[in-house]
Structure formats: C-alpha cells, structure tokens
C-alpha cells in the first residue's frame, strides 16, 4: 500500500458552466497535517465534500485510503472522520447521547461504546461535562466534541473544515493542540482554514486555493521561496542617518522597502546582517533593531493574491 492516504487527480466540480473546483491534483501522506488555504468560495469545502463522497464529482478520480468515495462511500466514511464548518450536535441530547448515536451508526459494539466515548472525551478535556446537554456548550466545546467524535471513531484520516473559525485565541490554541495530538496518534489530518498564522504553526504542507484551482502547494518555506523569491528578508530599525541609502549600498541587497516609521524591510540574496549593522553604525546611525524575518504564510498569501489580482 502506498503512503498516500488521499489521492486526487483532475478533481473537478462543475455547477452548470461555473467550475467550483477545477481539475485539482492533491495528495495527502500518512501521518501529516495538510492545510487547504484560500479565500472563501475558492473551492475548499467543495473539495472536502467530494473527498468524503458527500457531493458528486463532475470528473477526475479520487482515492481515499484506497477507496473510491463515489462508489464506496460507506467504506470511506467508516474510516474518515469529518468535522464540518460550525459543527452541530443535537442540543436536547447530552454529549454522551450524541456520541452514542454516532457509535450506533458506526456499529461499534455496545460493550465498547461507553469506554470509547469516555476515552475520547478525556482526550479533548470534556469528560466532566459528559452528561450535560449540548445546548449549554460553547462553540469551542462543540468543536472539541467534534474532535472527540473523530477520536472515538478511531479514524485514519481526519478532515477538518475551518476548525478554528469563530473561536477565541485560547480556544484556538487548545484546538490546535488537539489536532497535533491527532497527528501524534498516527492520523493524517486535512484541514481548511483562512487563519494563516495558526495554520502555519501546525501544517506540514499546505495548498493555496484560488478560484477552484490549487495555485501553490508545498511546505511553507517552499511557498515563500516561490512567491516572495529566494532570499533573506531582514527587518532593520535605525535612526540618525539615511538608512535606506546605506542599506542599498550593501552588495547583494535587492530591495529596501520602508515599513513604518524608522523601519525598513530588506531582501538580500545572502545573510547581510553583520554588514548592515556595521555600515549603519559607521555612518553615524543608531541601530535599534535588526531581525531575520521568517517567511510567514500570511505574507505569502497576501502577496500571492495581490499579484493574482494585478495579473487579472
């Protein structure tokens, strides 16, 4: 068996003449966290629904754990956990009753049900509210209950649609911690989001969606190199001299852009920090900050869509 849990080739979803998803190729490997990024309406959720067999594909092939979601949806759904955007539970039932219903649908033996539910709820820190009605749960607790459902299912692949949307920073942090734990237990995670810095902190690889196509795919560093260009970005804060001119004078510096009062972003083809410090000080300036900038996904994203808009 190959190491890819999800393989999609030429996956397309057409609504009339409009193509919500246009011939995308996608692979997710066993045990990695894969992020689907992109603006709303770029086709992320449609892709997810096609992977689960919840909506028909117009053309292309998909294989999830070796099964075809169009023809064998039950086999796929038995092995894949899905946390929809703003997941809902039956409000009038307790957390335990909600998960029991899912357990019945999954045909989990009755003897094991209670043990697995408690285990799953403990892993998302909801064990103390197991017999409270879901109506009393906060949004974060509902999302965690959704994760618990995936844990209880013992899914091999977890597909999470906007798992952190609408959560406060603390709840987001906790949820991402749980996603990392899922990965540790060997589950491949596919998540979609537009919260970029959060996604960056958990994802091994990402795919950038734009108008139904995957514009970019790879690790965050790879993406940064593609979009921002290879190079070392620097942040320089200094006063007391013509900083921009001084910096431009350094061999290897490609670009100097003012970014706020007394601060400049520098892109060079090598690490020029030592030289930059030396030149500023010798020219009589006061250097207050000199930082090596990690490429951020947000920057990649913003730049990419700026360029895409210019190109259009």
């Amino acid at each position: 068996m190959s190491d890819n849990v999800i393989e999609a080739h030429g996956l397309t979803k057409a609504y009339g003449a409009a193509r919500a998803v246009n011939a995308i190729d996608l692979t997710v490997r066993r045990g990695e966290i894969f992020g689907l990024l992109g603006p709303n309406g770029a086709g992320k959720t449609t892709t997810i629904l096609m992977l689960l067999g919840l909506t028909e594909t117009s053309s292309g092939t998909v294989s999830v754990l070796g099964f075809d979601p169009v023809r064998q949806p039950l086999e796929v759904k038995r092995r894949v956990g899905y946390l929809p955007d703003a997941v809902g539970f039956y409000d009038h039932l307790t957390a335990r009753e909600n998960l029991t219903y899912t357990a019945r649908l999954l045909d989990i033996p009755r003897r094991e049900t209670d043990g697995r539910i408690m285990e799953a709820l403990q892993s998302v820190e909801l064990a103390d509210v197991v017999d409270k009605r879901v109506a009393t749960f906060s949004r974060g607790m509902r999302q965690r209950l959704g994760i618990a459902e995936i844990v209880m299912k013992k899914a091999e692949v977890a597909i999470l649609d906007e798992p952190t949307s609408g959560l406060d920073p603390h709840a987001t942090f906790e949820l991402l911690e749980m996603i990392r734990r899922l990965k540790k237990s060997g589950v491949a995670v596919l998540l979609s989001s537009h919260l970029l810095d959060r996604v960056q902190s958990v994802c091994d690889r990402v795919a950038l969606f734009n108008r139904g196509k995957i514009a970019l795919m790879g690790t965050v560093v790879e993406l940064a190199n593609q979009v921002l260009g290879a190079g070392h970005p620097l942040l320089v804060e200094a006063t007391g001299t013509d900083v921009a001119a001084t910096l431009r004078g350094i061999p290897g510096v490609q670009q100097v852009v003012a970014s706020g009062d007394g601060a400049w972003r520098v892109i060079a083809d090598r690490d020029v920090r030592a030289e930059a410090a030396q030149r500023i000080i010798t020219s009589g300036g006061a250097l207050t900050r000199l930082a090596d900038l990690q490429p951020s996904l947000e920057e990649v994203y913003t730049r990419y869509f700026q360029e895409a808009r210019h190109a259009a």
Binding site: V70, L74, E75, V80, G81, P84, Y90, Y101, G146
Partner: protein, 323 residues
C-alpha cells in the same frame, strides 16, 4: 457520462436501525408529542363521549353497536368521531413531519451525520418510519381508549367481526396519516425554513379540506351539458365529480372508513338500479365484501404515501449538504 453508470456499494439500509430508534425516542419524548396527544384526546374525546351517551339510550337491537361509537353523529356535537379523525390525523402528521429534514440542516447536524457510514436513503426512511410508528402508537392508544370506554359505558363486549373491522379502520387511519407525513416531509426537504414548510403543509391541508370540495364541484359543473339526455351521461358526470373529490386523501379516508365501519355500505359511488337487484335494503355486507369495496381506496392511500415519499427521496438525493 459513464459516472452515472457506476454503482455504489453497500446496502442502502446501513444505519437505518439507529436512525429509527433515535427519531422514535425523540418523537416520543418531545413536548410536541405531548401537545399533539392532548390535542387528539380533546378533539376525539368529545365526539366519543357524546355518541356513547346517545348510544346508551338506544334500545333497539343493533348488530354493530360498537362500531356506531365511531360513526354516529351525536346530537350535541355535529361531527362523528371519524370525521374528527379525518381532521386531526393530518394535523398530527404535519406536526411530526414538517421539520424532519430541514431542522437537521438548521442545526448543522446533517453533514456530520451523513459523514458517518450511512446513505441518505437510510436517514430519510428511518425518519419516515419513526414518524409512522409514532402515529401508529398514538392511533392504537386512541383506539384502545375508545374501545375501553365503549366496554365500560355500554356494558357489552364487541363481537369478533366488529374488532376485525376496527383493526381494519386502524390500518386505514395509519395509511392516511402516512400520506400526510410524507407530504410534510416533502416540504421539509424542499424548504430550508421550518416555518415555510409548516405553512405550506398546513396550507395544502386547508386547501383539501375547505377549498377542494368546492373546486371539484365547480370543475364538474363546467362539464354539465345544457341538457342531460341519457343515464350514462349523468353517471359519467357523477363519476367525474367523485374522481376529483378522491384526489383529496381525506375523501379516500372517509370512504374507506365508511365501508369498514358502516357494514351496510354497498357502494361508494352512485348506486345504479342494477346494483340494487336482489339486495336486501339495510342488510350488512360480510367483512370480506366490505374489504373488497374499500380496496381501491386503501390502495390509493398507500400508493399516494409511496409516491410522495419517493418525490422527497429524489429531491433529497440531489440536495447539497453544505449549509
């Protein structure tokens, strides 16, 4: 596309058991059910109590005294019990069915449930069967109460054939409820808003109860020629009128119940002289003959239920699950 030719694997009934059990538990424990039961009891108890009171004063021997509880038109209340049921059963079915599917959308539980190993078929059928079972439970309870009250107040046990006709009535009542449940479910699939779907189902119910008899009559009148020249022509017109009336499930229910609970009923259409030949007026039909008489009505009700259910099934299969 070759895709349409690909067959999906696995039984469409996978997971129907859990869905059925959960929906049944929800139905039976809901406050809505309590309200509907109260409603039925109030509406049903009144005609039954009045007819029982009247029947106690009857001295002439009547072979089907027990069945008269259902059909007699009491003096104080102008509607017999079966007419009250004709009115209430749709209301109860609509009450149970108008939010079966769209509430899952609105609670955002649909995509989560459908991501478990079951087909949409199982979800829809499980919900429908649970609703039908709930209706049947309520009908049986009501039926037992009526029979029990009859036993107590009339002081006379029903004969076997009366019980058999009573059970036949129960089956017809559940089938009638099933038609309205299917209609309510169809609207719950079409409309995302529960209020809209309830309103449409209730609107259709009112249309059939109040407007349809008038509309059917008006259409029939339009076909009346200046002069009716033959008996055939007259019968043809009568039959057109009846056929139009029978579009309403309520008419089918009333006719079927009439045939079952009034054993003297010989025909549900116009009575022709040929049919009268050799008949003893007022003599009851045997049970099997009554069943033959109402068979088309019962078939019509069940067929209507299946057709409407299939329509909601087809629409539900095509619906997008994303909210």
């Amino acid at each position: 596309m070759p895709r349409s030719a690909t067959r999906r694997e696995g039984s469409p009934f996978t997971g129907i058991g859990p869905v059925y059990m959960k929906e049944l538990a929800d139905n039976l424990s809901s406050i809505r059910m309590l309200v509907l039961t109260l409603f039925i009891i109030v509406f049903g108890a009144f005609p039954v109590a009045s007819s029982l009171q009247q029947l106690r004063t009857v001295v002439s021997s009547d072979a089907f005294l027990f069945l008269r509880i259902f059909t007699i038109e009491p003096e104080q209340v102008p509607i017999p019990f079966v007419q009250a049921l004709n009115f209430i059963i749709p209301l109860m079915a609509i009450g149970l069915g108008f939010d079966l599917v769209n509430s899952e959308f609105n609670r955002r539980t649909l995509s989560r449930v459908l991501s478990q190993p079951l087909y949409r078929d199982a979800l829809l059928l499980g919900k429908f069967l649970a609703g039908l079972t709930t209706l049947a439970v309520a009908m049986v309870a009501l039926w037992l109460i009526v029979f029990g009250a009859g036993l107590l107040l009339l002081g006379l046990p029903p004969r076997g054939v009366e019980v058999a006709r009573g059970i036949g009535f129960l089956v017809v009542a559940v089938a009638y409820g099933g038609v309205w449940l299917a209609i309510a479910m169809l609207f719950s699939v079409i409309f995302r808003s529960t209020a809209t779907s309830a309103l449409c189902a209730l609107g259709l119910w009112l249309l059939f109860f109040i407007l349809w008899p008038m509309i059917a009559q008006a259409i029939t009148m339009a076909f009346v020629p200046a002069e009716i020249t033959s008996l055939d022509q007259f019968v043809g017109l009568q039959q057109l009128g009846l056929a139009l009336q029978r579009v309403s499930p309520g008419t089918l229910f009333t006719e079927a119940v009439l045939g079952l609970l009034n054993p003297e009923t010989r025909t549900l259409g116009p009575m022709l002289p040929t049919q009268m030949r050799g008949a003893i007026m007022g003599a009851p039909l045997a049970l099997d003959q009554s069943l033959l008489l109402i068979w088309p009505q019962v078939t019509g009700l069940i067929a209507g239920m299946i057709v409407v259910f299939s329509a909601s099934y087809v629409i539900f299969q095509r619906e997008e699950v994303r909210a």
